[in-house]
Each structure stands twice: as structure tokens, then as C-alpha cells.
Symmetry: C2
Subunit: 79 residues, 2 copies
């Protein structure tokens, strides 16, 4: 994944998960430093509906596999 | 949640998520410092089957609501 491309795509994510990857409400997970492979798996699961969430489903729907890999690399890179 | 009680219950978790909350394989999420409310929601979802995962379902099944609150408090407390 391309960290800079992921950062450029991450503005919608930041509304809940925080610009620094520390989420803004306790019901949302922190993503700072999270494993990229795990993030990729979850974004694909939200997109495919195998993990159901009314907020994340429409967020994941328009993402390509490349977008997902880039976003995952970006959040993993946050220290 | 009771952090010490959560720590005492966390040995099985540590096998995949790490004794320090940093997971041992990239497919597993880090739990270090994760939001307790999010962890609680996910453990209950695994237990109830609304989030499906073949590894986590049997892990969550025997946990009481108190166990879940304690584990969530413990992982949130890790710095």
C-alpha cells in the first residue's frame, strides 16, 4: 500500500477515527498503528457484507482494492 | 471494568493479540490502548454471532458481561 495515497483518501475516516488515528468517540476503534493486513481484511468484509455495520458499509462500498491497501498502509504507519 | 481482573483473564487473548497488546501476526489486530467500549461491543458481537469469526466465536462464548468489561478495561489500559 502507498502511505501518501492512503493519507489523501483518509479524510472521511478521520471524522470518526481521528486525524491521528485516535478515535473521537469510545464506540469507534483507534486505527493508529493497527496492522495493515487486519485493516484490509475488515474493509473488505464491510464492503462484501460479511462484517455488518451500518456506518462502515457505505464507507467501504466505493473503495477499490488499491484504495483499501493504501488506507491500511497509512493507518499502520501512524505512530 | 476491573483492569486487574481483566489481566487475569487475558492469557488466552495474549496467544494471538500479544502479552503487550501488540498482535503476533499481521492478520490479528493490536488491542493495546484500544477503546474499551469498542472492545466490549466486538466481544458481545462475536458471542452473539452478529460479528462472525471462527477464531473469536469460541473465545467469546464463555465470557460473562463482567469478564468482557474487565478484558476491555485491561486492554484499554495498556500503554
Amino acid at each position: 500500500g502507498d502511505i501518501e495515497a492512503g493519507k489523501a483518501k483518509s479524510m472521511l475516516c478521520a471524522a470518526c477515527h481521528g486525524a491521528d488515528g485516535i478515535s473521537l468517540a469510545p464506540i469507534y476503534p483507534n486505527l493508529k498503528g493497527q496492522k495493515a493486513q487486519y485493516i484490509e481484511k475488515q474493509l473488505k468484509a464491510f464492503k462484501e457484507g460479511t462484517r455488518q455495520d451500518p456506518v462502515m458499509a457505505p464507507m467501504a462500498m466505493p473503495l477499490t482494492d488499491e484504495d483499501i491497501a493504501n488506507l491500511a498502509a497509512y493507518f499502520e504507519s501512524l505512530k
